[in-house]
């Protein structure tokens, strides 16, 4: 019983002590605002444009609590990009149609000679067509992501559109690999002929033979082709790098980085598509005798004379060292 009494005394004493403490503190407790030092949402957002903290689950990336920057990206994706893409692609098509109707096909002024010269080897054509095939599928599947919902979805319905978009996404992701290899090979294969030089200035001044019926001299690639080469190399690199960044989320950057990557990827891509529409035009119905360069790999001597006179001279000089005649290249490479 003595020990029980001791416990009682202890408890009573403790309670009394607590009462004393409680009685002495209210004046200060009322002045303490527990939120005075508390983190404020708007303040944090103004400081960093995102709120980040610590999480105890393994996925540390979920520590980003809020990132309202997605709103800016949404505006870009749904409005800005559609304007840029629409104007670039439809504008390019309109320009080409007007050009074709007013200027027509660039004809071979001197007709065909019947003799041909090798312009692109089988390897060069393989690289070109591999990249080109990938590009067309990547372009269609990419444009589907931006323009499919307003244009195609209402026509074919939700299920069909989703099914198609799913396959388009797989194609887009996996064909990026041969496309990237193609861009690297294009860069390496044709870098030699694509360094800008003085001849290009003269070629541009004379309208490249597109405007009027002039035939300014050019080496293997004229200024227009060099422009396409650098568009492919630079745009191809940009879309590849940003594309892989989007394919491998969080490997390189966080969300803001991916938003930025998508902006670069899609903007460059729609301009790239517009440029390639011009390339396809000039390589097919825009110029007589041009397609066969990438088709059979050989061009008519007169075509080479009109469009790439300096290159033809080079080739003749090279072959005449071994052989007196210009190379007839009777057998196509395929």
């Amino acid at each position: 019983m003595a020990s029980f009494g001791r416990v009682i005394r202890l408890v009573v004493g403790a309670c009394a002590l607590l009462l004393v403490i409680a009685a002495s503190t209210p004046s200060s407790a009322q002045q303490v605002n527990p939120t005075a030092s508390a983190v404020k949402e708007q303040q944090l957002l103004q400081e960093l444009n995102q709120i980040q903290g610590r999480v105890s689950i393994p996925d540390q990336r979920s520590g980003v609590l809020e990132q309202p920057a997605g709103r800016v990206w949404r505006e870009f994706r749904n409005v800005t990009l559609r304007w840029i893409g629409g104007i670039a692609i439809l504008g390019m098509i309109a320009v080409i149609v007007i050009f074709y109707l007013s200027r027509g096909m660039v004809r071979l002024d001197s007709g065909r000679s019947g003799r041909t010269i090798v312009r692109f080897t089988a390897f060069e054509r393989f690289v070109h067509w591999m990249t080109a095939t990938c590009f067309i599928i990547l372009a269609i599947s990419g444009l589907n992501i931006t323009f499919g919902r307003p244009l195609l979805l209402p026509l074919i319905g939700f299920e069909t559109f989703s099914e198609w978009s799913q396959w388009a996404k797989y194609a887009h992701n996996y064909l990026s690999f041969p496309f990237t290899i193609g861009v690297v090979l294009i860069f390496l294969t044709w870098i030699g002929g694509n360094i800008p030089n003085k001849v290009d200035i003269d070629w541009i001044k004379r309208g490249g033979g597109l405007v009027g019926h002039d035939h300014p001299p050019a080496y293997r690639f004229n200024a227009g082709q060099k422009a396409f080469y650098w568009i492919v190399v630079i745009s191809g690199t940009l879309v590849a790098v940003t594309g892989y960044q989007l394919m491998l989320p969080f490997y390189l950057t966080g969300i803001e980085g991916m938003q930025l990557a998508q902006i670069v990827h899609s903007t460059v891509a729609v301009l790239f598509v517009a440029a390639m529409i011009a390339h396809i035009y000039i390589g097919t119905i825009g110029m007589e005798g041009a397609f066969e360069a990438m088709g059979t790999g050989t061009v008519d001597i007169n075509w080479a004379q009109e469009h790439h006179s300096l290159w033809l001279e080079e080739q003749n000089a090279r072959t005449s060292a071994n052989d007196a005649r210009p190379q007839p290249a009777a057998t196509p490479a395929e």
């Binding site: 105890s56 609590l65 990206w73 979805l153 939700f158 996404k169 992701n173 969300i255 998508q262």
Partner: protein, 198 residues
């Protein structure tokens, strides 16, 4: 109809992570996916606050706006849901979401992320309410059973509130009035373009 919202009273959250666990268990959410998480800001410093965050079921939801296949829809209760049958796993909702809500089962697998998964406000998906298909894809549909989201229902400090926006805002306002402080309705301005004046 109600306009369903979440509100986390950060001055009450004790970072017990029970909402996270309850959510995972209720919906049998696969490994690696967390529909809800608790983020602690200024951890260990004065003014530290923890906020439980999941999909906020935004007004004019950015995820729905940017989805290339238009797989999102808003229910009559204002809950933002999506169809996993239509989702192509492109990741766009995830770039647009201010709250990091969309989750993918296969992040980093050459972009084939798998079908997006996120908080459904315990309201399932487009399949028939309470069906096996619905449960497998989206988890339980408590709303159809007349119940509110489990995370909020079982919150031990009643920090996390889920329900009609006006009612939970009123509860929060009363709390702030009574105790004299409140660090605000986190995420409301971003999600609903409005905040609770206190």
């Amino acid at each position: 109809m109600a306009r369903m919202k979440f509100l986390c009273d950060a001055d009450r959250c004790i970072e017990c992570n029970a909402c996270v666990t309850a959510c995972k268990n209720e919906h049998e959410v696969p490994w690696g996916i967390n529909r809800r998480r608790v983020v602690t800001i200024n951890d260990g410093k004065p003014g530290e606050r923890s906020i439980s965050m999941a999909c906020m079921h935004c007004t004019d939801a950015p995820c729905a706006a940017v989805c290339p296949v238009n797989c999102f829809y808003t229910t009559a209760d204002g809950v933002v849901l999506h169809s996993k049958d239509l989702c192509i796993g492109c990741g766009y909702c995830f770039y647009a979401c201010p709250f990091g809500a969309p989750q993918y089962p296969k992040v980093g697998n050459f972009g084939s992320r798998g079908k997006m998964d996120k908080c459904t406000f315990c309201a399932g998906g487009p399949e028939a309410d309470g069906s096996k298909e619905e449960y497998e894809k989206y988890g339980a549909n408590r709303l159809a059973e007349g119940k509110l989201p489990l995370c909020a229902e079982m919150c031990s400090t009643k920090s996390l509130l889920a329900g009609d926006g006006e009612i939970i805002a009123q509860i929060y306002k009363e709390r702030v009035m009574k105790r004299g402080y409140g660090s605000g309705a986190w995420g409301w301005k971003t999600a609903y373009r409005e905040t609770i004046e206190s």
